[in-house]
Amino acid sequence: MSTFPVPPGDPAGLRDAAGRLSGLSGTLGEARGSCLRTLGQQTETALPTARVAAFAGARGQATTATSAVGASLVAVAGALADYADALEATQRAVRDANARHDDARARGRAAETAGDLAAAQTCRAEMSRQAAAVDTAGHGLSAARQRVVSALGHEVGAWVPDTGSLTPVRAWQQAAAGLLPPGSSLDAGTLLDAYHHPDAVLAKDVVSRAVKLASKGYQLYDVLGHSRVWLLAQLAERRLVQALGVYQELKGSSPDLDDPATWERYLAAEREALRRWSAGGAGSKDAQRAQQLWKMLRGFQGDELALANVLRRFPSVPPADVVRFGFLDRLAPAVQAAKPVAARVVGPVSVVTGAVDLHTALTDDAMASDDRVARGVGGGAAVVGGVATTALALGIATGPVGVGVVAVAGVVAVGAWAYENREEIADGARRLGGAISDGAGEVADAAEEVAGAVGDGARQVWKGLFG
């Protein structure tokens, strides 16, 4: 019988769910949005001139919705992953405390029986320590719970504003109705049925009824004036501005990565970093085996003991290679996985290394602060700057709102990839470390003073945008 109750929940399952949502965010925010843009452009070139403006307006609003949905799903996935991590850590801590507590209790009883009062006292102290450890773990989970409740509440509010507590089915109904103009509302009863009995035919029926009510589609063009969609555009844009704000904080005043020449030099340094990494290969077989063994052992034995055991088994492998250059082989699939997304956004190298850098800067507490700043500066520039730059380069960002929506769609795509490959990114960043730092040396020197910027605000944005 455990002394301390283990908090319920399935962290691995939650993490899987977050991964699926991250995939859906890419599908909706990027693939569907891109498909809609393409089909919309095809339609607009074929429509009579008089119809084009209304159609383009309505199509733009639907694209806005897909982008906002993608961003929302990244945020929900991030919240779930956050909670899963905290839950797992707490469950592990409580189980560990239970084992230590039970052991101390047994030893304490034996000591009392033997009349060894000092030993019994030591055991009681150990039991108290374990109770305190459980309390600390519980506080951590409670803080994570608050973050998650706030993040999820924010997402609900984005789609169904100005409402109190909602049941899921009411949220489904109101969010669906809220996006459509009056006169084309979705039938509440059928919506309810479609939620309780998820069936594609039933749901398609809801959609087709709504469209019939809207006079064969033309009334839907009136969505241009519908306030909800405009709010969603603002939401999407706000997220981009938030991300850009973090980037500006990270970037500091110098060097100016908005300057094309500086930007080129930085990208060249990152390309060189990736080239070095690629050319370096996976190291010797012993190194690979040592890395694999370390990876397996560290979860059970902790980093120090695991490393000592690995070095006993592979004495020829330098310790730095075991830990700093671990998992080289795992970055290769991550780079491959990034290519379809990265090619669309800015080019594989800067996005891949940018995501690596930004993720590492925001999550690696062990890294020296100047390294974190350098990494974050480059990463923010590559990911955020790259997305916006590409949108402009492709000519699809036609105004302030356009820039926001398009760029957020790109950020969603990168964010989904970054989430799905977060382990590989974090591991791969260790391997990339030295080379990128060389290239970004001047950035590190100049930006040291903004080390504090890589703080909670940045983490929140990362959580929101990248899970």
């Binding site: 949905v69 779930l80 949220a171 063009y221």
Partner: protein, 92 residues
């Protein structure tokens, strides 16, 4: 009635594409509600469970509405194509 430009054949093709996209979005909307239920069952905490299901239901509802918008665009394209056909006697 006069039309400045327009291609009814291309409109039919684009309309079919938009209709298929609308159907895909319906599937996405239902997938989101299913994900909400399944994530809620794994959360272990009543508040988190309820909120995650509600959040994904809301996003799913928005996707369903987007599907209706896209379906409307499809029907609008079809209607415009039909009008062009009648006005021009077929072809441009």
């Amino acid at each position: 009635m006069s039309f400045a430009g327009g291609d009814p054949i291309q409109l039919q093709v684009a309309s079919a594409g938009l209709r298929a996209l609308s159907e895909d979005l319906v599937g996405d909307a239902l997938a989101l509600t299913a994900q909400g239920r399944s994530a809620a069952a794994l959360a272990g905490d009543g508040t988190v469970a309820s909120l995650v299901e509600t959040a994904l239901a809301a996003v799913g509802g928005a996707v369903l509405a987007t599907s209706a918008l896209v379906s409307g665009l499809s029907q609008g394209a079809t209607t415009a194509g039909d009008q062009l056909q009648r006005a021009t006697g077929g072809g441009r």
